[in-house]
């Protein structure tokens, strides 16, 4: 494993923040070493300074993508903390469907939902499963489910929808697993009916969000925690612009927008918190 020097640590931490928004604490040199050592070796670099130079100069951005893949944490679970999904099922979706259903029975109900850091897809598939369980006849609906993530690897795995038993056993009930997944060797693959409901696409949250359009519901859980306070404020301001006026924002259960973005006000339903524009 290649060791990192304090100077390299400083430079590469800033570089990673620039390309991904993720700000890694410089006290965690081991994290840089364990995550980036193999990227450096794979690129034939003997130091992190060399890796940094090479990545900056690479016009194909291949090395930049590899660094992002190595540094992002792809840890997510199906239905990770149940709160948001219960909120979606019992409060948000029924309210939005009431508000959005057109008077004419000929017209469809439009809903746009975004999982802003979809990682390997579990959150968005969980949302799709909730929708499928709640709305039996989807033919009267136009529901768009978009998942975005900065990591190519995460997007590839999310699109494939295949999870090994260790990735799937926590969080998913047996009945749900058997209903919506097919056993595939030692792994489970999401069924086509759910897969067809969602779209995944690579996206960097540091970029402007306007190209994505406006959403009725945005999930942005446990990703801003890796950003600096300044970048968190920027992100949630952009999210406020991307959310329709009566839309819903759900953030991680240990996160708060107090002191981050005053444009959102927290609201409570049972034990869960969601945010709406003030």
């Amino acid at each position: 494993m290649i060791k990192i020097s304090p100077d390299e640590l400083k430079a590469i931490a800033l570089y990673i923040r620039d390309i991904s928004g993720i700000y890694l604490d410089q006290s965690k040199s081991y994290l840089f070493e364990t995550r980036l050592s193999s990227v450096a070796e794979g690129a034939g670099c003997s130091s992190y300074r060399e890796l940094h130079q090479k990545a900056k100069q690479d016009p194909s951005k291949k090395l930049e993508r590899e660094i992002i893949d190595a540094i992002t944490t792809n840890e997510t679970l199906f239905f990770r903390d149940k709160g948001p999904f219960e909120l979606l099922q019992h409060k948000i979706l029924p309210e939005l469907i009431d508000a959005r259903t057109p008077k004419s029975p000929m017209l469809k109900t439009n809903l746009k939902i975004w999982s802003a850091a979809s990682s390997t897809g579990q959150e968005l598939y969980s949302i799709a499963i909730v929708i499928k369980e709640l709305i039996r006849d989807l033919s009267k609906y136009n529901i768009s489910l978009l998942g975005t993530d900065i990591s190519d690897n995460a997007i590839a795995q999310a699109s494939y929808g295949k999870y090994n038993k260790f990735e799937i056993e926590r969080g998913l009930e047996r009945a749900v697993l058997q209903k919506y997944f097919t056993l595939f060797g030692d792994s489970w693959k999401i069924k086509d009916e759910i897969r067809a409901m969602v779209k995944f696409r690579k996206f960097n949250l540091m970029q402007p969000l306007s190209s994505l359009g406006k959403f009725d519901i945005i999930f942005c859980r446990n990703v801003a925690i890796y950003f600096t306070l300044q970048d968190r404020t920027k992100l949630f301001n952009k999210i406020a612009d991307s959310l329709v006026d009566d839309g819903y924002l759900i953030i991680g259960s240990t996160e708060s927008l107090t002191g981050v973005c005053p444009r959102f006000i927290p609201k409570r339903h049972l034990r869960s918190i969601f945010y709406q524009k003030s």
């Binding site: 604490d25 994290l31 794979g42």
Partner: protein, 189 residues
């Protein structure tokens, strides 16, 4: 589940090609070396997830030496040895030196793929565990910051309430003045 990179080391060209083709069809990234020295050269340049090496090879770099070098350069790379039945004892000795597994010749490819899939699973679990550890760390840190911010907010609000209460209870002044003053304090907070 990412594709593993595998280094195949075998002096037998037929075996090398067979292993290369079979592992490639399973979507692994495969590199081959015809002897221990070539393997050593590759190991110094690249990091592999798995090294699959013949135990007995001509020259001074056999499977054991490849194993030792791999573990020295990259402790997280797993080594699987291919042995003849007669050399099972040395394969067991190699396991003690850190080899993940060994396979007896003639190679059963289904068995080989199962062993490699097991290694891939363990690597996924390890990576997930590291990710969870890191996420917990950051979450705890941010949650602590949030709690501090909220505590400060509460203190500010409490101070506002006390100030307003003081004014409102002061019956010596007329009501309109007290209400205006209270509203000012609330607006400023």
């Amino acid at each position: 589940m990412e594709s593993l990179s595998i280094l195949v080391v075998d002096d037998d060209p037929v075996m090398r090609r067979l292993l290369h083709q079979r592992l490639k069809t399973e979507n692994y990234t495969v590199t081959v070396a015809e002897d221990g020295h070539k393997a050593a050269q590759l190991l110094k340049q690249h990091r592999f997830d798995v090294v699959l090496t013949d135990l007995v090879m001509p020259g001074d770099m056999g499977g054991i030496e490849v194993l030792e070098l791999t573990k020295e350069l990259s402790p997280t790379t797993e080594v699987v040895l291919i042995t003849a039945h007669s050399s099972v004892d040395s394969a067991v000795a190699a396991m003690k030196k850190g080899a993940a597994d060994y396979l007896e010749k003639p190679i059963n490819f289904d068995e080989l793929l199962l062993r490699i899939e097991k290694i891939a699973n363990v690597k996924t679990i390890l990576r997930n565990a590291h990710d969870i550890e890191e996420a917990m760390d950051v979450t705890e840190h941010r949650a602590a910051e949030t709690i501090q911010t909220l505590e400060i907010e509460i203190i500010k609000l409490r101070n506002t309430v006390s100030a307003v209460e003081l004014i409102l209870r002061d019956t010596s002044r007329d009501e309109d003045t007290r209400v205006t003053e209270s509203l000012n304090i609330i607006e400023q907070s």
